[in-house]
Symmetry: C2
Amino acid sequence: MRNEIMPVRHGTMRARNLAVVLGEISRRQPVSRARLADVTGFTKTTVSSLVAALKAAGLVREDGPVRDGERGRPATAVSVNGDRVAGLGLEVNVDYLAACVLDLGRRIRHRHIVAADNRGRAPERVIGALTDLAERAIAAAGDQGLTVAGAVVALPGTLDRAGGRVRTAPNLGWHDVAAGDLLAAGLPRLALPADQDNEANLAALGELWFGDGPGLGSYVHVSGEIGVGAGLVVDGRVFRGAHGFAGELGHVVVDPAGPPCACGGRGCLEQVAGQEAILRAAGIPDTVGTSTAGPDGPLAALVALLRDGDEPALAAVRRAGEALGQALSAAVNLVDPDTIVLGGIFSALAPWASPAVEEALGAGTGVVRHAALRLTVSRLGGDAAALGAAALVVERIMNDPALLMEAPARPHGR
Amino acid sequence: MRNEIMPVRHGTMRARNLAVVLGEISRRQPVSRARLADVTGFTKTTVSSLVAALKAAGLVREDGPVRDGERGRPATAVSVNGDRVAGLGLEVNVDYLAACVLDLGRRIRHRHIVAADNRGRAPERVIGALTDLAERAIAAAGDQGLTVAGAVVALPGTLDRAGGRVRTAPNLGWHDVAAGDLLAAGLPRLALPADQDNEANLAALGELWFGDGPGLGSYVHVSGEIGVGAGLVVDGRVFRGAHGFAGELGHVVVDPAGPPCACGGRGCLEQVAGQEAILRAAGIPDTVGTSTAGPDGPLAALVALLRDGDEPALAAVRRAGEALGQALSAAVNLVDPDTIVLGGIFSALAPWASPAVEEALGAGTGVVRHAALRLTVSRLGGDAAALGAAALVVERIMNDPALLMEAPARPHGR
DNA sequence: TCATTTCGTACATGCTCTGGACTAATTAAA
DNA sequence: TTTAATTAGTCCAGAGCATGTACGAAATGA
C-alpha cells in the first residue's frame, strides 16, 4: 500500500550506478575495470566513466598494473581510497562517552572512550562533552589527511529520528531532548547531515562490520548494558520496525507473574537479566559512577565471583541466561535470524550464562530451527555502538557516493 | 553488507517510472496528467509518454474530460483499467481449497471456496483439485473479458520460495513437495511465473487490502486455523525474515513448564491457543472432515457454547486469549507494529477472547507503547489468504507494469 | 618479430527525461 | 460577442547516460 517508489531520472540512475560500482570495488578490493564490467553487467565504457568519477571524488584509487589472467595486457587495479574520506561515530551511554573515526576502507583511524557518569546529568552538559570528543576526533582525522564527511550518534533510548529528538532515555533520565540541534550547534558543518540512532541498532551494525565477520547476514545482537536491548539485522540491514522501536528485547515478558517493571509491564526480561537485577541477585551493590566497563566496576566484581565459583553469583547468571534464552526464542520465532550474538555485559558473562541461554533457546525453538541457529559471543568492546555509528556513515556514503560528489552528478534535484 | 544494489539502465528507469505513475494513478483514481506531473515531479511531457505506454498495455484508461479547477481547459482523467488484467489467488488449507480473481482495479471478480479434507491426502491429488479450481477461475475471468496475468498459491507451511518447494506443512502431512512444478504442470502458462507464499503472510496481505482499510500500515495479523501463525506487515510490506519463516507466533513459548510441542519445543502458544487445544479444553471433540469453518464444524459448536455461557468453554477461550496476548506482546516489543489484527478462528472467538488478549497485551507492553496500539478483529472470511495471494499478483504488476508490456520497455535485459 | 589476448578509451548511437514553445479548451472580463 | 487569462496536453529540440563497435596499449608465446 505505502509503496514509496520514487521517480528515477538520469541523475538518480547515475548515482545508483556509482554506488553499484563502488560497492563492487569494496567487495573485491583490488579489481580491474574489466572485471567490474563483468560482474556488474555494465559495458567497459560505462565502468570506466563511473570509476573516473569516483576517482575524481577521491573515493577510489588506482593501484597500478596487476597481472590478473595469464595472457594479455595487465589490468590497473582500483580499490577504495581509505585515505581521504571518513565517518565519525559517537556514542552516549550511561557511564561513558565514545567516539571513533572510520575511513572508507573500513579501517578504524581513531578510537576514544571516556568514562563519565551521565545518569541524570543535564543533556546540554553531556552533549557538550560529546562535541569536545567529536572535535578531537575530527582533528585526529585531519592529522591523518582524512576529511570527516558525516557523523552519527548512538543514544540509549527511543528516538524520533526524523525530528532529531530523543523521546525517552530512561537510564539517562532524558525526556524529549533535541539532541540533534544541540549536537549541530557544537559540531562544524559536515558534508552529510548528522544523524542519530538507537544504541542497540548501532551495536548490531558494529558487530556486522567488526565482529564475527561478513559471514553474518541475519542475526539478533543482544546489547545488554544497564538495560537490555537487541539490534535486529536481517540480510545485512538493520530492521527498525514501524516506528524505529523494534528489538526491545528487555521488555519481552518472561514471567507473567513476575515483578512490575518501570515500563508499566510485568515480568520483563530486564527485571531478571538486566545488569542491576543480576548484581542484586548476586549480592553485589550496583554503584554507578565507577565505570561499569572498567576494571573496578561492579561487573568486574561479578566476574571475579563467578571465577571463584560463588554459588549465588552463578545462580543469578544462570537465571539471567535462562530468561534471556526464553526471550530470544521468541525473537527467533518471530524474526527468523541465522545467529544470536551476545554482546554488552553478556559477552563478559557468556562463559557462565551461555549454557542456560542455549538450553532455553533450544526449548523455545523447533528442532529444525534450532539446529540451524548459531549462538556466538561478541568480541567487540564497550564502544560497539560507536563503531556501528561510524559504520553507518561509511555505509551511507557507499550506498550513495554521489552525496559527496560535485553537482553534475545530480543535476535536477531530488 | 549484503546490499543488492542493482545496476540501473535506461530500461530499468523507464520501468520504474511506469510503476511510479501507475501507482499514483491508482492512489488518486480519476486524475489528470497535469496533476500526475505535479505529484511525481515529472514534466508533463514525461507523464504523457508514460501514461500513453500504460494505456497501450491496457493497464490504464482515459475517462473523458473532467473539470478539475475552475478556469482553464478541462482535464482528461485517467484511471486504472480494471477490465483487462487480473491476478489469480489460490489457497490450500487443511479443510478447504479457495480461489479468487482480483482485477487491477482491486475489485474481486470471482471467489470460490470448496470444503475438502486435505489432511494426509496426496499432494498430487490436492494440487490437482486446486488446478481444477484455478481453471474454473480463469474461465470465469475470461467470461468477464479479463486476462489472468499471474497466480500465487497460499500454503500452510514453511516454504522454499525460490525453489518452489514446500519444506514441511505439518497439518497437511507434506514434506518436501515440489508444489510449484505440480501447479505449473496443470496451469496454462501465464504472463508472470506462478509463485507461492506462506498462508499467514498472505492472509496478512489480504487484511491490508480488504480488511480494515488502507489506514493500516504496520501490523501483526494473527491467522489461527489449525496452527497459529502470524503475518508481519511493516510499512505496508510483508516482513519475511531471513529465510521466510518469520512470524511463527504459534511456537513462541508462553509457559516454559508447559507440555512439549510437536516442534520440539515446550509450552508453545499453539499448545494453549491452537484450535485443537481450545476445543479439547472446552470439551469438544475435534473432528476434522466436517469443515472447521462451516456451520456444522466444531468451531461453530464452540461458539454456540460460548453464547450459552458455558463455563469450561469460556475458560478455555480466556486462557487462549491470555496466552495469545502474552505472545503478541513479545511480537510488539520485537517488531513494533501499530495494530494487532485477530484473524482466522480468533475473529470468531474475539468477543470472548479479546478482553484477555487485551489485558495480557497491556501487561507485556510498556504504557506508552500500549496506548498507541490498536487491537482489531478481521472482517475477512476464511479465504483471506486467497485474497492476499491475488493481491500479491496485482501488487507485483503495479510495482512493475513493464512486466506486462512489450519488449521496447526493457531493451537490454534485466 | 608477429600473432594472440586482454585492458582500457574514443566516438557515434539510442533511450529517456527536460524544457520551452505551441495548440486546445474552457472561464472571466470587456 | 470578442478578448484576455488560465489550465491541459503535445511537439520538438536538447541534454544526460548507458551501449556498442572500433581502436590503441601492453602483456605472453611462438
